[in-house]
Amino acid sequence: MRRKEMTTRSSALLAACALIFAIISPPASRADSKLRIMTATTDLASLAQEVGGEKVDVESIARGYQDPHFVEAKPSFLLKLRHADLLIVVGLELEIGWLPPLISQSTNPKIQVGAPGYFDASRFAKILEIPTGQVTRAEGDVHPLGNPHYWLDPENGLRIAKGIQNKLSEMRPGDAAYFAQRYDSFEQRLKQADEKWLAEMQPYAGRKIVTYHRSWPNFAEHFHLDVVGYVEPRPGIPPSPQHTVELIGQMKRDGVKIIVVEPYFDLKTPNAIARDTGGQVVVLMPSVGGEKEITDYFKLFDYDIAKLKQAFDTTK
């Protein structure tokens, strides 16, 4: 009798599960609506918005003031990812700590790695600091595929935008002309802006700076700055007293006055270094949205260059 009861219970349970799954119909797809684009970072969102215009809805997972290495894989992101038509990622293992579980749990076949809706922006950009020879973590949290902070070079921004244009045209051939026109306008505006930025940075060409993390090689290359040291002894390793002393010595020898820090790092050590060397800490934004006024890719460079200029002028 007990056995019978058990069988009834288990079948009831199974039926309940089946019912739950059966009742819920798949969400109705909105035909001929905007393309839903999710991006890993705000910079990619801004580039996608430039190209996609009003034909796309774009949202970034990470915020601009957040360390993109350490985003949390919150279930709320799954709700956004499951309806996405396109997922644009930075790649080069920047998001390795949080994006893979989000993608595989999204239940969205369109954005799985290798699917047409998975777009790795690093494939279109010029990548620096690709390690050669042996790669070990004795060098800290190294990125074996190269430095993933490549979007801080306007040329790369343009290359990524071109890649996005091709991808969007492939997904919505009917709007290809629209995307091409948006891209052309973006290219023209970015080239103009870049001319202005380069002219602004011209007087400081070749200046030596120190940065907290290795986030700025592409930026430094494009704007002719020379990064001579890092506050972190190794990528991902917090500052150590010994390394800080060495760095201070080096900065004094080389006359380095500028310490560039990302908004998500503690300012205690950089401030101490600045006090010792008579230098200045500059909090530069590595991403769109790092500050309220940085609403797009153009304003990102506007902001960072204005801050840098100011710092260079006051530390002459």
Partner: protein, 462 residues
């Protein structure tokens, strides 16, 4: 394309020259032989073409990896950069195409050889799964007569293998080498491209029963597992069995995340469930409700149910299949992590409550259901980039005798030299029932742990 046409031209002329020579030959070969020769020639040409294309592919790949050789830093306006295309891929692939090689077949053949051997092996490695090994070394000092552990042990070495299987699935395997043997802790395939938003997982896996049961040892915020896990839910391995899992997001009010999971297992999990017959499968159901309370704070709630057979009836006059264990659990987690300082500060408060209803025989051999309850409450605070402090309170009855309630608390201090190693100390007090002596005893212990990670960078647990 250009090279291809040059090549076809060369091949065509060679073939035609060969054909013209033919009649001049003293003994005209049989027409079949001519055809075979022509075919051979064709095969050779095709092979050369393949070699050529391979070479081209390689140069393109190399060019993509290499630093693009752009001429200094020039104005965007003045340089003609080709967006979407790496500058070098055009420049370096241009090299072989540019000079019209008088004899393109010769270097192509060389390329083909290096490609076949070097290329094949190095490319094959790219398809290896992500491999990692996590070593978990634990030391214990102090007094515990109820559940003593060894003074020093390499408690576990967990090998993780993870890869994308095909466009529809990925697989994860975690093989744990302990002091006494090897155990496939988890090994499952996840089908990520199913219709109707279903997520299917098949293999051996930790059941979706509460929170702590799903977490691997090395990802726990403490060295041991809570008392309630040991007393009611199968100890260190917990509910970990071969089976099938199906989950789906369920409709929920705006900004709420609701997920339902239904799992069927063989019914063998540590000492919780035992299947003596094929139909003694165990089932697990789980509901997860989550909401962001802001960009830094969120709550995560769960309710779980598990049911399976136990061993209480084996060897008795009763039907062994009538002895079931029903487990219920509720969990609540509050997390806080400010985005601007996420690597320096965070806070987590987690409570998990368990209820075990186990069918068994009383000392007087009467069929009865033993209802035992247990809970743990855990909190941790990240003080700075390297240090975390935490505490845990434990209280739990025993599954077979609910009147015996063990109590304990722990203080935990964790230090991270880097993201890939961890040093942890834990003071643990327990007020535990000592079965042989039939009384409660106090246990005071100090545990320490070294964790090290090598290989692939795993995902951070959430």
């Amino acid at each position: 394309m250009k090279r291809f046409s040059v090549l076809s031209l060369v091949v065509l002329s060679a073939v035609s020259a060969y054909a013209q020579e033919k009649p001049a030959g003293a003994a005209a070969p049989a027409p079949e032989e001519v055809r075979i020769r022509a075919l051979e020639e064709q095969v050779r040409t095709l092979a050369e073409e393949v070699a050529l294309l391979r070479g081209e592919l390689k140069t393109m790949r190399d060019a993509k990896q290499a630093d693009p050789a752009t001429g200094g830093h020039l104005l965007l306006a003045s340089t003609r950069i080709e967006p979407g295309v790496l500058p070098s891929s055009t420049s370096s692939t241009a090299a072989p195409t540019a000079a019209p090689d008088p004899n393109p077949a010769a270097p192509a053949a060389q390329l083909a050889q290096t490609q076949t051997y070097g290329g094949a092996t190095s490319n094959a490695k790219l398809l290896n799964p992500d491999i990692s090994l996590i070593g978990d070394f634990i030391g214990t000092a102090g007094r515990n007569t109820v559940s003593p552990s060894r003074s020093l042990e390499l408690h576990e070495s967990e090998v993780g293998l993870q890869a994308i299987i095909d466009p529809y699935a990925r697989a994860d395997a975690f093989i744990s080498f302990g002091e006494t043997g090897v155990n496939v802790e988890e090994g499952y395939v996840t089908f990520t491209s199913l219709p109707a938003g279903l997520l299917l997982r098949v293999g051996k896996m930790r059941a979706e029963f509460g929170k702590v049961n799903t977490i691997h040892n090395h990802a726990l915020p403490f060295i041991d597992r809570p008392l309630v896990t040991n007393n009611l839910v199968g100890g260190e391995d917990g509910i970990d069995d071969a089976g099938i899992s199906l989950s789906r997001f369920l409709p929920a009010p705006k900004n709420w995340f609701l997920q339902g999971t239904a799992q069927v297992f063989r019914g063998d999990s540590s000492d919780v469930f035992t299947a003596s017959r094929r139909q003694d499968a165990s089932v697990v159901g789980h509901l997860r409700l989550y909401r962001d309370l802001g960009e830094s704070t969120n709550i995560d709630l769960g309710a779980s149910y598990a049911r399976g057979h136990n061993t209480a009836g084996v060897g008795t006059a009763f039907h062994p299949e009538n002895f079931l264990t029903n487990l219920y659990s509720a969990d609540a987690t509050l997390r806080w992590k400010p985005l601007r300082r996420s690597i320096y500060h965070s806070f987590l408060l987690r409570n998990e409550f368990f209820w075990s209803a186990r069918d068994q025989l009383s000392p007087l051999n009467v069929f009865q259901t033993q209802h035992a309850f247990g809970l743990y409450s855990d909190s941790e605070y990240r003080v700075n980039r390297r240090w975390t402090v935490g505490g845990r309170f434990d209280r739990s009855g025993r599954a077979t005798n609910a009147s015996l309630t063990d109590t304990g608390f722990s203080g935990i201090l964790t230090y991270w030299p880097s993201e890939f190693s961890q040093i942890r100390g834990q003071y643990r007090y327990g007020h535990l029932w000592d079965v042989p002596n039939d009384r409660f005893t106090n246990a005071n212990e100090f545990l320490f742990q070294f964790l090290f990670v090598m290989g692939a960078h795993g995902a951070h647990p959430f």
